[in-house]
């Protein structure tokens, strides 16, 4: 594959993958809700042929705004993300898990865990929490 073709293909794939996935999501949500194209058109206040065009090969007039509306009328909800954002979020979650596992293993019991363990509402702004976290960060710096 030449560099020019590769660049053209990659841009086209980014577009086509987004469109194809959006259409597949709509069709899946329609099937799940037991809604026909005719019923979807009625719920959206557009013609049946407009729905057919939305789901057709060139996906005419399929915007993010419209996708959000379609999924809403099909009792679903659009959730948008990207690979990098997902990676960032999972790394952040992994870090948070590390932190909480350290807390569970230390000799110090975190006041929030202590409160939850005793079925009390934790006060995250309490002096003990601030003190605990201060001590934890000191430990982390030493490590």
């Amino acid at each position: 594959m030449t560099d020019k073709r590769k660049a053209e293909y990659e841009i086209a794939y980014a577009e086509e993958a987004a469109v194809t996935k959006s259409q597949a999501l709509i069709e899946w949500a329609m099937e799940r809700a037991g809604v026909t194209q005719k019923e979807l058109a009625k719920r959206l206040g557009i013609s049946e042929s407009a729905v057919s065009q939305l789901l057709g090969l060139s996906a005419q007039n399929l915007s993010v705004r419209r996708l959000g509306k379609i999924l809403h009328v099909l009792e679903d909800e659009l959730s948008i993300s990207s690979k990098e954002r997902d990676r960032w979020a999972s790394e952040r979650k992994a870090r948070a898990n590390d932190w909480t596992s350290v807390l569970r293993c230390t000799d110090y019991q975190h006041p929030v865990y202590a409160a939850v363990a005793n079925d009390c509402v934790p006060d995250t702004s309490s002096y003990q929490v601030t003190q605990f976290e201060h001590r934890y960060h000191e430990m982390e710096d030493v490590a």
Binding site: R5, E8, A12, E15, E16, A17, T20, Q23, E27
Partner: protein, 139 residues
């Protein structure tokens, strides 16, 4: 000298939560004869819709019945993934119990409305050959 045995991985084109797609070895080279936009559409259809959702529901994008074609004593129903000008033919079956599409022919720039019968026949024959090479595959 004996030919080196190929593994299932050599034929695996895409996989998702609902299905897999296998292709004959020259598929990607053959797809290069299609425009970049067509190749991207076909890839998106197979990877993002067929493999992730288990099938392509819209008839503008998928023809589930390009007729049955006889290979040996059995008949196989050829299906087509459709882009703007390009068509990709294959036969649906399974791989170790999972839904699978066996890609067996490409028409990079379709000139007529009707599919080329000779190419469809080739698609059925090549799908049978492809399935025979992949352990666990059935059509």
């Amino acid at each position: 000298m004996a030919k080196a045995e190929r593994s299932r991985k050599d034929y695996l084109y895409a996989s998702g939560s609902e299905a897999l797609a296998f292709a004959y070895l020259e598929f990607e080279a053959d797809l290069e004869a299609a425009s970049a936009k067509d190749a991207a559409k076909i890839d998106a259809l197979l990877k993002q819709e067929y493999c992730e959702f288990g099938r392509v529901r819209n008839s503008e994008k998928w023809n589930a019945d390009e007729h049955r074609h006889k290979v040996g004593h059995a008949e196989y129903r050829v299906q087509a993934a459709k882009a703007y000008q390009c068509r990709v033919y294959g036969v649906e079956g399974s791989y170790n119990g999972s839904r699978a599409f066996f890609i067996s022919a490409v028409e990079p720039k379709k000139k007529k409305d009707k599919a080329d019968r000779k190419l469809l026949k080739t698609a059925a024959e090549r799908a049978v050959e492809l399935v025979a090479k992949i352990k666990g595959a059935k059509i």
